[in-house]
C-alpha cells in the first residue's frame, strides 16, 4: 500500500508540476530553449511557440516581445539572403507593437527599453533587405530606437550590444570603429554578468557579444 501511495505521490507531484505549468511556466521553458537557439529553424519554431503563448488570455508583453525578437533575429540571420527578410521583419514589427501596447511608459522603463532594442533590430533587418535603398530610411529609425532604449535604461546590455554591433560593422568612413565596437561588446558582457538571474526577463546577448569579439580577433 505504501508503495502504491508513493507511486501516486510521485504521479501527483508530476501533476503538480504540470498543474502549475501556466503561461509563466511555459514562457520560461521556451526562454530556456531560446537561450540555446542558433539556427533560423530553431528561431522559427520558437517564434511559433511564442505566438501561441501570446494567444493566451494571460499573456503579458513578454510573449509578443520574444516572438518579435525571434523574427527580428531571423532577419539578421538572413543577411546573406536578403530576399527572404521582409515577411519576418513585417511580423516582427506587428509583434513588437503588440508588446509595446502592454507597457506603461512611466512605470515600465526597463521593459520598454527592451522593446525598443528589438524595434531597433527589426528596423535594422529592414536595412538588410537592400542597404543601398533602405539604409537611408530605416538606418536612422533603427538608430533612433537604439538611442531611446539606452536613454530609458542606460545599463541595458542589449542596447549596448546593438551599439557595439553598429560600431563594429559600419564601414569606417560612415562612422564605424572596430576598436570602439569591441570595447562596447566587452562592456555589454560586463553588464550581462551584473544582471540578476531573470528567468523570463530578457537576458539574451552573451553569444551575440562573443560573436563580435570573435570577429574582432579575426579581423
Amino acid at each position: 500500500m505504501k508503495k502504491i501511495i508513493l507511486t501516486f505521490v510521485a504521479v501527483a507531484f508530476a501533476q503538480f508540476i504540470t498543474f502549475s505549468q501556466d503561461y509563466g511556466q511555459q514562457l520560461a521553458e521556451r526562454v530556456v530553449k531560446l537561450d540555446r537557439a542558433k539556427s533560423v529553424d530553431e528561431y522559427q519554431i520558437l517564434a511559433n511557440d511564442f505566438i501561441r503563448l501570446a494567444n493566451s488570455p494571460k499573456a503579458d508583453w513578454k510573449a509578443s516581445y520574444y516572438a518579435a525578437f525571434c523574427n527580428a533575429k531571423i532577419g539578421w540571420l538572413y543577411q546573406e539572403n536578403p530576399d527572404k527578410i521582409e515577411p519576418f521583419a513585417k511580423l516582427s514589427e506587428q509583434q513588437i507593437k503588440k508588446a509595446e501596447s502592454f507597457l506603461d511608459a512611466s512605470t515600465q522603463k526597463k521593459a520598454l527599453s527592451e522593446v525598443y532594442v528589438v524595434t531597433s533590430m527589426m528596423n535594422r533587418a529592414k536595412v538588410f533587405i537592400n542597404p543601398m535603398v533602405n539604409g537611408r530610411k530605416f538606418g536612422p529609425i533603427s538608430q533612433k530606437f537604439q538611442d531611446m532604449a539606452e536613454k530609458l535604461y542606460p545599463e541595458n546590455p542589449r542596447a549596448t550590444y546593438l551599439d557595439a554591433w553598429v560600431k563594429f560593422y559600419t564601414p569606417k568612413m560612415w562612422g564605424g570603429d572596430k576598436e570602439k565596437g569591441k570595447e562596447l561588446a566587452q562592456t555589454a558582457l560586463e553588464l550581462l554578468d551584473k544582471e540578476p538571474d531573470s528567468n523570463t526577463d530578457p537576458h539574451w546577448g552573451k553569444s551575440e557579444c562573443e560573436a563580435i569579439l570573435k570577429a574582432y580577433d579575426k579581423h
Partner: protein
C-alpha cells in the same frame, strides 16, 4: 500543497498526456494522502476521457510539405509547429468543438472546426499560397521599374544610375538594359527600331521636352538634370500606360524626390566641373527648399586630350536650379522644381567637300524648365495627382564655311552655297495634367486629362516660321485584380491636335499571370501615336537632302502610329532575376519627306530580349547581362525604300558589374557594351523624281566599349560638428581606346566618306565631391560617372 483551479496532469503511460481539469475558481483543496489518492484516481478517470491528440500533415496542394507552420487551437496556447516533413502532433485538454488555425509565412491562414471529443484526430491540411504576400502582381510587359520600393533582385534607382559610363544621364544608363540600341553619337533612346525622338521622358507625369542639352551633330550631349533628383525610374520599351502619349516607341517615366531626410550641403570640384548646392529641411519636417549650381567647361580638357573636332568654344554648360517641397497634409505633397541652363559649343572640322576649307558649327542654347506637382489622398478611396510643366528653349545654330585661316567664306554653287546657315529656334511648351484615382478594393480606376500647348518660332537664315497650337488628351485606365495571381490593365487614350486638326483613339491592355514559384507571364498590346515634330523635320533637312517643309504641308500631316505586341516571362528568386521578352511592332503613317511631306511611311520591328541579373553567385559582386536581338525595317523620311534604319543593329549585348570593397571603402563599376555594326547609307535625290536612290551603303564595324569607374569614399573633416562624406572618383569610358564608327557622312559627290566617331577615343573623369549633413556620396557617383 495547494491545488489551484487549473490542473494539468501528466500520466506516465508511455507518453505523458496532459489533461485539464476545470475546478471552480477560488476552491482550494488541501491534499492529504487519502484525498490525494482519491483525487488522482478521479483525475485519471477524467483524464481518460478529456484529453485529445491532434496530429496530421500540412502541405501545398501539390504535396510539397509546409515546414514551420504554426498549428494551434484558437485562443489557447495548445499547438505545435510542423517539422520539415510538414508533420505535427500536440495534445490538448480542450474539449468539444474548437477552431484550429494553421498559419505559415507565404500561405493563407487555414481555419477549420474540429471535434476534440473524437480522438484520435488525424488531419490532412492543404495550405494555399498567399499571393498577396508575394506582393501585388506588377504588370511588367515592356517595362523595367527602378524605384526605391524595389527590393532584392529588382532594380533600384542607384543600380541604374551607377552604371559605369552613364555620365549622369539616366537615358545612357538605360542603354545597359535590353531594348535600347548603342547609339553613341546622339542623345536619346533608340528603342526597338524607333528613332531617338520616338522615346519621351516624363517627370511626375508631365512631358519633359528637352532632357539633353542642345543637339550637336555627331556628338552626344549631356543630360540637363541630375539623376539624383529622381526616386523612381521606369523604363518602358513598349506597351506603356494610357496616362502617357506622344511617344511611338518608349517612355522613361521619372518620379522626383519627396522631402529630403535631412538638411545637407554639397561641393564638387574637378578639372572640368564645379558644383555646389544645398537642401534645407524645416525643423517640423514638413517642408524643404534647396538650390544648386553647376558649371562645366571642357575647353581645358580638350586642350589636353586631343579631340577630333577643333573646339573654338567650350563645350560649356551651366545650370542653376531651385526647388521646394511642402507637405500640405499627412498625405498631401506639393513639389516644385525649376532649372535654367545655358550651353555654348563651337567647333570646326575639315569641310567634307573640300579639304582645303573648314566648316564650323556652333550652338548656343538657353533653356528654362519648371515643374509643379501636387498629390493628395482625399480619403482611402480617392487620390488626385496634378502636374504642370513649362519649358522654354532657345537654340541658335550657326554653320559657317571657313578658309584655312578660319575666316568665313561665301561660295556660290552647290554644295557650298548652303554651307553658311543660321537656324534659330524658340520654343515654348506647357503641359498640364490631372489624374483622379478611385480605389475599389484591389482594383483602381484612373481618369484624367491633359493639355499641351506649344508656341514655336523657327528662323532659318531670314525666313521666320511660327507655329502655335494645342493638344488635348483624355484617358481612362482600370487596374483590375482578377485573382490574387492575375492582374489586368485596360486603358484608352484620346488625343486631339488643334494644329493638325485631327484626333485619335488609342486602346491599351496588359495582363499578368503569376505562377506559384514567383515566375510571371506578361502580355501587352497597345496603339501609340505621336505627333510629327516640325522642329525635328526642319533639323533633319539641314543634315541631309534639302526638301521642302512648308507649314501648310505640315498641317496636313496625321499622327504617326505604332502597334505593340509584347509577351514576356520574368522570374526572380534567390537574388537572381531572369527576364525574357519577345515583341512585334508595326509602324504606320510614318513621315516621308521625299518627294513631299506625307504620312506614307511604314515599318516593323520584332525581336527577342534577354536579361539576367545575379547578386548571389559571387559574394559581393552584382552583375547583369543583357542581350537584344532586333529585326527592323522602315521606310521613312528620305528613305527610298524599306531599309534597316541606320540607328539599328541586329545584336546588342552588355555586361554590367559592380563591387564594393569595404576594407578600402572603394567601389568599382564596370560596363562592357557590344553591338554588331550599324547600316549606313548615302542617298541621292534628283528633283522631280519620286524617291531618293541609294548611292552607297554598307555596314559599319561592330561596337565594343568598356567603361570603368572607381570611387573612394572617405571623410576629410572627421572632427567637425557636421562630418563630411567625401568621394574621390575616377572614370574612363572606352578604356580600350577602340575607334568607334557609328556611321559615315558623305561629301556631296559621294567620293569622300568620313566616319562618325567619338570626339576622342577615351574620355576621362576625375573629381572630388564633399557633402555635409547627409551622406550624398552616392549622388556624386550618380552625377558624374
Amino acid at each position: 500543497m495547494k491545488v489551484t483551479s487549473a490542473v494539468y496532469l501528466k500520466k506516465a503511460n508511455g507518453i505523458l498526456r496532459t489533461i485539464y481539469l476545470s475546478m471552480k475558481s477560488g476552491i482550494q483543496t488541501v491534499i492529504t494522502k487519502q484525498n490525494l489518492l482519491l483525487g488522482v484516481l478521479f483525475l485519471s478517470t477524467v483524464g481518460a476521457n478529456s484529453q485529445a491528440t491532434v496530429e496530421g500533415k500540412v502541405h501545398e496542394n501539390n504535396g510539397i510539405p509546409v515546414s514551420f507552420a504554426n498549428v494551434y487551437l484558437e485562443g489557447t496556447m495548445n499547438g505545435a509547429s510542423t517539422d520539415t516533413l510538414g508533420i505535427f502532433s500536440f495534445d490538448t485538454s480542450e474539449r468539444g468543438i474548437k477552431k484550429l488555425v494553421v498559419s505559415s509565412m507565404g500561405y493563407q491562414n487555414y481555419e477549420s472546426e474540429i471535434d476534440l471529443d473524437k480522438s484520435p484526430i488525424k488531419l490532412d491540411i492543404v495550405l494555399k499560397i498567399d499571393a498577396s504576400q508575394l506582393g501585388e502582381v506588377i504588370l511588367s510587359a515592356g517595362s523595367f521599374a527602378a524605384g526605391d520600393k524595389a527590393k532584392g533582385t529588382h532594380m533600384n534607382r542607384i543600380d541604374v544610375v551607377t552604371t559605369a559610363g552613364s555620365n549622369g544621364d539616366v537615358a545612357n544608363a538605360i542603354k545597359a538594359l535590353p531594348g535600347a540600341q548603342q547609339v553613341g553619337e546622339q542623345e536619346g533612346l533608340f528603342i526597338r527600331g524607333g528613332s531617338g525622338d520616338e522615346a519621351k521622358q516624363f517627370i511626375d507625369g508631365t512631358l519633359f521636352k528637352n532632357p539633353n542639352f542642345s543637339s550637336v551633330p555627331g556628338i552626344i550631349q549631356p543630360a540637363r538634370l541630375s539623376p539624383f533628383l529622381f526616386k523612381g525610374i521606369t523604363f518602358s520599351s513598349g506597351g506603356y500606360s494610357a496616362l502617357y502619349g506622344d511617344a511611338l516607341s518608349g517612355a522613361l517615366i521619372l518620379e522626383s524626390m519627396d522631402l529630403p531626410e535631412k538638411s545637407s550641403a554639397l561641393i564638387g570640384i574637378s578639372p572640368i566641373v564645379g558644383t555646389a548646392g544645398f537642401d534645407h529641411l524645416a525643423k517640423n519636417n514638413k517642408s524643404s527648399y534647396g538650390a544648386s549650381a553647376r558649371y562645366v567647361n571642357l575647353a581645358w580638357y580638350s586642350d589636353i586630350i586631343e579631340q577630333k573636332p577643333d573646339y573654338f568654344h567650350g563645350p560649356e554648360y551651366a545650370t542653376a536650379d531651385g526647388n521646394f517641397r511642402i507637405k500640405t497634409s499627412e498625405t498631401g505633397l506639393l513639389k516644385f522644381y525649376g532649372v535654367v541652363n545655358y550651353n555654348n559649343i563651337g567647333f570646326r572640322n575639315l569641310d567634307i567637300d573640300d579639304p582645303n576649307l573648314k566648316s564650323s558649327f556652333q550652338v548656343e542654347g538657353k533653356n528654362g524648365y519648371g515643374n509643379l506637382s501636387y498629390r493628395e489622398f482625399f480619403n482611402e478611396d480617392w487620390k488626385i495627382d496634378l502636374g504642370t510643366t513649362y519649358n522654354y528653349n532657345n537654340d541658335i545654330m550657326t554653320r559657317k564655311l571657313l578658309n584655312h585661316d578660319n575666316e568665313q567664306v561665301f561660295l556660290t554653287g552647290e554644295p557650298y552655297a548652303h554651307k553658311n546657315t543660321n537656324l534659330t529656334t524658340k520654343t515654348n511648351f506647357a503641359n498640364t495634367k490631372a489624374v483622379v484615382t478611385r480605389f475599389l478594393g484591389n482594383h483602381s480606376l484612373k481618369l484624367g486629362a491633359e493639355l499641351f500647348y506649344e508656341n514655336n518660332k523657327y528662323s532659318t537664315n531670314d525666313t521666320l516660321t511660327s507655329l502655335s497650337g494645342n493638344e488635348t488628351a483624355a484617358f481612362a485606365e482600370a487596374d483590375i485584380s482578377i485573382a490574387p495571381n492575375i492582374a489586368a490593365r485596360a486603358g484608352v487614350r484620346y488625343e486631339r491636335s488643334s494644329l493638325l486638326d485631327i484626333s485619335n483613339f488609342a486602346p491599351r491592355v496588359s495582363l499578368a499571370y503569376r505562377f506559384n514559384n514567383g515566375g510571371q507571364v506578361n502580355l501587352a498590346y497597345g496603339l501609340f501615336y505621336q505627333k510629327p515634330d516640325y522642329g525635328e523635320l526642319l533639323m533633319s533637312r539641314n543634315n541631309g537632302i534639302e526638301y521642302d517643309v512648308s507649314l501648310d504641308d505640315y498641317k496636313k500631316l496625321e499622327y504617326t502610329k505604332a502597334s505593340h505586341y509584347i509577351l514576356n516571362y520574368t522570374r526572380k528568386a534567390n537574388m537572381r532575376w531572369f527576364r525574357a521578352e519577345v515583341f512585334y511592332k508595326k509602324y504606320n503613317d510614318l513621315i516621308k519627306t521625299v518627294p513631299k511631306l506625307f504620312n506614307n511611311g511604314e515599318g516593323y520591328a520584332k525581336g527577342i530580349e534577354l536579361f539576367y541579373r545575379d547578386k548571389k553567385t559571387i559574394r559581393g559582386l552584382d552583375y547583369w547581362i543583357s542581350y537584344t536581338y532586333l529585326d527592323t525595317k522602315r521606310n521613312y523620311l528620305d528613305y527610298p525604300t524599306s531599309l534597316h534604319p541606320e540607328f539599328s543593329t541586329p545584336h546588342t549585348a552588355s555586361v554590367v558589374a559592380k563591387r564594393f570593397f569595404e576594407g578600402i571603402n572603394t567601389s568599382v563599376n564596370a560596363a562592357y557594351y557590344f553591338a554588331t555594326g550599324r547600316p549606313y547609307y548615302n542617298f541621292g535625290y534628283t528633283h522631280g523624281t519620286d524617291a531618293t536612290e541609294i548611292l552607297d551603303q554598307g555596314t559599319a564595324k561592330s561596337y565594343h566599349s568598356l567603361n570603368l569607374s572607381i570611387s573612394y569614399m572617405t571623410s576629410l573633416f572627421k572632427n567637425w560638428k557636421h562630418k563630411d562624406f567625401t568621394v574621390i572618383a575616377f572614370g574612363v569610358n572606352n578604356v580600350l581606346g577602340i575607334k568607334q564608327v557609328f556611321g559615315y557622312d558623305y561629301s556631296a559627290d559621294g567620293t569622300n566618306k568620313v566616319p562618325t566617331t567619338l570626339p576622342a577615343p577615351r574620355s576621362f573623369f576625375g573629381g572630388i565631391f564633399i557633402t555635409f549633413g547627409i551622406d550624398r556620396t552616392q549622388d556624386f557617383i550618380d552625377n558624374n560617372l
